[in-house]
Point group: C2
Chain length 345, copies 2
């Protein structure tokens, strides 16, 4: 916790229903806390909405975060919510600029916990260069929520060279994975199961806007599609890409990296890393002519040393994802039918 | 319910955790239901976000709806969520254009209820001329939510003649209230208390975009400020206006209209209508030169026959709201300190 931002003096140690009333207690909570911490020219207006100028092609994305536990190795629900929406915009080829924040707080949430989450939100906004411009705070009775849910909705300008669309995907395109699989999901799951490992596994939550925009600067339209494999994992995203492009996908298991600790945890928990959620990871479908260069840029990125080309698009087996396994067999990779890890993000 | 939109065939009668997995069940729910019902060119892309062109001054607003009960006289959480965000944008002088939808569903929510809410969302979008362009669906375990919470975030273009800002408010400005007080809050409260009245009291949830834009067309910058008195009611909004403008406010109780049934219910429940939530109501602070004309336009509007000038801004008693009561006394109207009606919107 940033010691220069101590918890403000409030009359209560926990959130109560009055904090959601829209009256004095709401004002006190917002003025002493949220507005002061996240202040910027637009938020400071404290109007029902924010007003700003925007010119050009805009992307808009929304996500509600209900992750449980709300604090985990590598982050908490606050930075997860900021990074997640920044990344959804990055996957549209857009640089997140303005975010909104919608809290649903459960009566009894500790002020210190709320404050710690706010500090993470502030840090994540600063790291990614975005502003919270407007927000909303609701409080529900004990037992009608789960401590805190956060909706973040963001808008940003689409990179002038970006043209990200499943319809641009062609047979022969290479599929690049930006890093190792399953870190976020395994972090959450281990936490819930009370598992301890020799070295700590931590969530890969991080903003992807800078690396994606750098790739778009250099490779523009040659980057045909981007998607971050969060809920449902890599397997789900590949199936969505196959369905959207009406092409098939061939992937090679040995090219997908999974950190040793994570792989061990997956085995122990009986989980397939291809179906486990990630947060700071993305899949790029690129023109084969630039695939090697894109991979090279990714490998130079501080979080990209394990990036790799995991497969390619094909006219064979339309809408199906086929994986060549470690032992050389070939199998269909389906979408996850139900829920492997509830409340992962 | 629109009979031309029957509930689609799904494998389950209730929402389960799998519907929030991001996998097959999520796709089934979205493809058979949400995407089909709310379809438009942008939503149909099913990408992580929506991409569109926007030029000029833009307003952005967010709200999470946690109202309980989710169905009530005059509406449900679905149209409430659409109208609420449209109205927040209207209060910025903007015409809502694109909305996002974030669901937090509790395991066990009946599919028929979810479908009815979706139909109301569709109808509210059509009535106001807005599109849902992207969304998110999360499912939480039984007991960790309350059937359904909905976040709606919207953006829209600010009317070229609009200049809505608390700093524009001047002493002498007239304060106009667009209709009778307390309908939404009393509807919700009566429902919770199981109260029945001779005639039915129903929520005033409705979109305010068309009337507000018509007023801006005609009166432009002479409309200095707009605010809808939802949570916290009229008293809270007037206090916010006094604080924002650094001026005082004089209001006259007899000029504020409350329908007879609503007034009776307020008395029975011991509630002051000035603190009860409204949904389809707004306060306009306008130049005195146009006050009579604005009132006239409002009275012509189908929901505005009870609109009235309730008071004016003054340099006396800065930041204080003073009401001349029915019996002629004067009293300070404070902000609501705590919570009068939790979970009202």
């Amino acid at each position: 916790m940033n010691l220069s931002c101590p918890l403000p003096k409030l009359d209560f140690d926990t959130i109560n229903l009055g904090h959601g009333s829209g009256g004095t207690l709401t004002s006190q909570l917002l003025d002493a806390g949220v507005f002061k911490l996240l202040e910027n020219e637009l938020l400071n207006k404290k109007h029902d909405g924010a007003i700003f100028n925007l010119e050009g092609k805009v992307a808009m994305s929304t996500d509600t975060y209900v992750v449980s536990p709300i604090f985990f190795e590598g982050g908490n629900i606050g930075d997860l919510a900021i990074n997640g929406t920044i990344n959804d915009l990055a996957m549209c080829g857009a640089a997140a600029k303005y975010l909104t924040l919608g809290f649903v707080l459960e009566e009894g949430l500790k002020m210190t916990e709320f404050w710690e989450i706010l500090l993470s939100i502030k840090a994540a906004c600063e790291a990614a260069g975005v502003n919270i411009v407007t927000g909303d705070t609701k409080v529900v009775e004990r037992g009608k929520g789960d401590r805190i849910f956060i909706n973040t909705t963001g808008i940003g300008l689409v990179h002038p060279k970006a043209n990200i669309d499943a319809e641009n995907i062609k047979a022969g395109d290479k599929i690049i994975l930006s890093g190792p699989l399953a870190r976020h999901g395994i972090t959450i799951m281990s936490h819930r199961q009370g598992l301890q490992f020799e070295s700590t596994i931590s969530s890969d939550t991080r903003p992807l806007n800078k690396i994606v925009l750098a790739l778009l600067d250099e490779f523009g339209e040659k980057i045909h599609f981007l998607r971050d494999p969060t809920r449902g994992g890599l397997a789900t995203v590949l199936n969505e890409i196959a369905a959207g492009s009406k092409l098939g996908i061939d992937i090679t298991q040995k090219n997908m990296s999974v950190e040793e600790e994570v792989a061990g945890a997956c085995e122990m928990l009986g989980l397939d890393p291809m179906y486990v959620a990630n947060e700071g990871l993305f899949v790029a479908v690129v023109d084969p002519a630039v695939a090697a260069a894109v991979l090279c840029r990714l490998n130079e990125w501080e979080h990209g040393e394990m990036a790799s080309i995991i497969g390619e698009m094909t006219t064979d087996h339309s809408r199906q994802v086929i994986m060549k396994s470690l032992i050389g067999g070939r199998r269909v990779v389906n979408m996850l039918p139900g829920e492997q890890l509830p409340r992962i993000c």
